[in-house]
Symmetry: C2
Subunit: 357 residues, 2 copies
């Protein structure tokens, strides 16, 4: 076994989920991640915790969704499993990242609605979303498997304590700031983040991590934005998303590919048309886009906005967050552009406030 797999498992168990004796643990994995599942079982065993592993498979999900004849509902047995879990580890990995591409958008949208109680539950757990390097993901990233393994583990196996300390500067800005202004190519956007909290994403919930994010006040977003990086939703690429906001709500949208899917996603529920997250990527170990949100959104000179649900941890006592069945991140390259908070530039042309001095 590649020794980096063991290190990956140790970070997940020790740092990301802070596993302890008697924890009930859920692992979600596809067979491609078997080696990491084995390594995790070893580390979880050492802690005296109790794992149960769920088998995720795009091909099986497609077979289910394409043939479904009935009414979707939140599966009570799965809900209970998650309710009783203390820690949940989800490992992105599959034989084929495009296997769900012929499932109609409205089916995905209906299905995501009944899964919402599961996502809600997970917000209050120690969770870790990570990825295992597969040929499918390597191919999507235009890389060989060996090259992609280096890419993934370079991004994952980092000193997260050090990342935490650096990001704390940006987190505090977000805690204190009220108004955010974003400008760049075809972009002029303002929003309030008053009363909401910056989240220092330091390898706890996402691995790799390296971003600081907060929740916009749902009704405050005004203006327009072009996302020049692809949005990947259930394996499908939506390119050049353009959104126009009025009183927080998307009033115009377009895309150069899969625009119809984008329209369907926006119709999921009332909250799907509003923003739940403003994130700033800080991970300088991620140097290239790989069509994998977990990595792409962490890249050092990007920002991302998420349509849909706000993350509970970013909603302050005096703040406000959006709710929805979806949480869909869309990325904007900021190698040209500027982010201001209360009039202060925190990021300009790909440089952070702490890199400008």
């Amino acid at each position: 076994m590649d020794k980096r797999i063991k290190e990956h498992a140790q970070i997940i168990v020790d740092w990301s989920t802070e596993m302890k004796e008697d924890d009930n643990v859920v692992i979600m994995a596809h067979p491609e991640a078997e080696e990491l599942v084995i390594a995790l079982n070893e580390e979880i065993g050492k802690k005296g915790a109790h794992p149960t592993t769920l088998y995720s498979s795009n091909e099986a999900s497609r077979a289910y969704l394409k043939n479904f004849d009935g009414e979707f509902k939140t599966p009570e047995h799965t809900l209970k499993l998650f309710e009783e879990a203390d820690a949940v580890i989800s490992i992105k990995s599959d034989y084929n990242e495009k296997a769900m591409n012929d499932v109609p958008g409205e089916v995905l949208s209906e299905y995501s609605k009944v899964r919402k109680p599961l996502s809600d539950l997970l917000q209050d757990k120690r969770t870790c979303l990570t990825a295992f390097p597969t040929n499918a993901a390597a191919q999507l990233a235009d890389m060989s498997l060996r090259q992609y393994q280096d890419f993934v583990w370079n991004a994952v196996l980092r000193d997260w304590q050090e990342v935490h300390e650096k990001q704390e500067i940006l987190k505090k800005k977000m805690d204190e700031a009220e108004e955010v202004y974003i400008t760049g190519k075809e972009t002029e956007l303002t929003m309030s983040i008053k009363g909401n909290l910056g989240e220092n994403s330091d390898g706890k919930f996402n691995l790799p991590s390296g971003e600081v994010f907060t929740a916009p006040i749902p009704d405050s977003v005004e203006g327009k934005i072009l996302f020049d990086k692809p949005l990947i939703y259930m394996g499908r690429e939506i390119n050049d998303v353009r959104l126009k906001f009025e009183e927080g709500k998307v009033v115009e949208h377009s895309a150069s590919s899969n625009e119809g899917l984008l329209s369907q996603i926006l119709e999921t529920d009332e909250g799907a048309k509003r923003l739940g997250e403003l994130g700033i990527g800080t991970n300088r170990g991620i140097k290239t886009f790989t069509r994998n949100m977990l990595f792409d959104e962490k890249m050092g000179d990007t920002i991302h906005l998420a349509l849909g649900r706000a993350i509970n941890r970013t909603i302050g006592e005096d703040g406000e967050g959006n709710d929805s069945a979806i949480h869909m991140d869309i990325i904007k390259d900021m190698s040209k552009g500027r982010v201001e908070m209360d009039g202060e530039t925190v990021m300009e042309d790909g440089k952070f406030i702490w890199e400008m001095e």
Copy 2:
């Protein structure tokens, strides 16, 4: 996809578990069974039921058990998952059937104790234990994969209604009989099955099936028996098991291999030393031993006894069944030997009562 995989899935869904709309379903599978998992998702989708799949892996279980440092307990999250399930499908399949061979017997025994509430729960569900043909199982059976696929699907894809009708004769004998006498090589065994019920195993809980079984009255078993077919426990072979019973309890035991493991299993709990099942195999489609209990115990000229837990369905209102954390089947070749019920021969030298006339 081999069309037999689809047929296999259809039998599991339509016949074995009688799946219906809104059922909460748990599938347990190893990646080697991915094709059957996909086919099942298709069939379950058509029914409008809700599946969740658990990932089973001998290698991961080994990593967990070998490194465990703490106190085993029944995992509450997994318990709740099964509590809320209506149907449970378990698919035997792995890369390597021997992967758990270096886990100490006492660890397996401790672990099986805390899993007992899970096994108890499953007794009251619609369940189906089946197998998917893998290279590992083929190798264990001294066959090529293609040859083994034919073997498995010949045993699985049968007219189970017809099997049901034939077996009903033997089931009724068991319902009515009080005393059972078994004689054969190094074997003279008597037991009472008074008040207990014959179970017609017709593809509902086991697939393949083809056996009729009941529960001995726990204290009634007297005599000795030689099991000339190997016992397979968590991948380990125990050969030539000899047991001597007094007042239902094993008072002497030996084996020509892995005798120490047998001793440990017998010490699991009070019920591990008593019998929970007497079964008679009827499946003439299974013509060879393959070191897989699911198939071996169904073979047409064998009987098997299980140490440990009785199956609830075989315990009559006026009867009595054994309880234990274990349920371990051991097989005896009856091509030479006789089974009598209340003095009537129901099986002799490999022929059943309905084959004698």
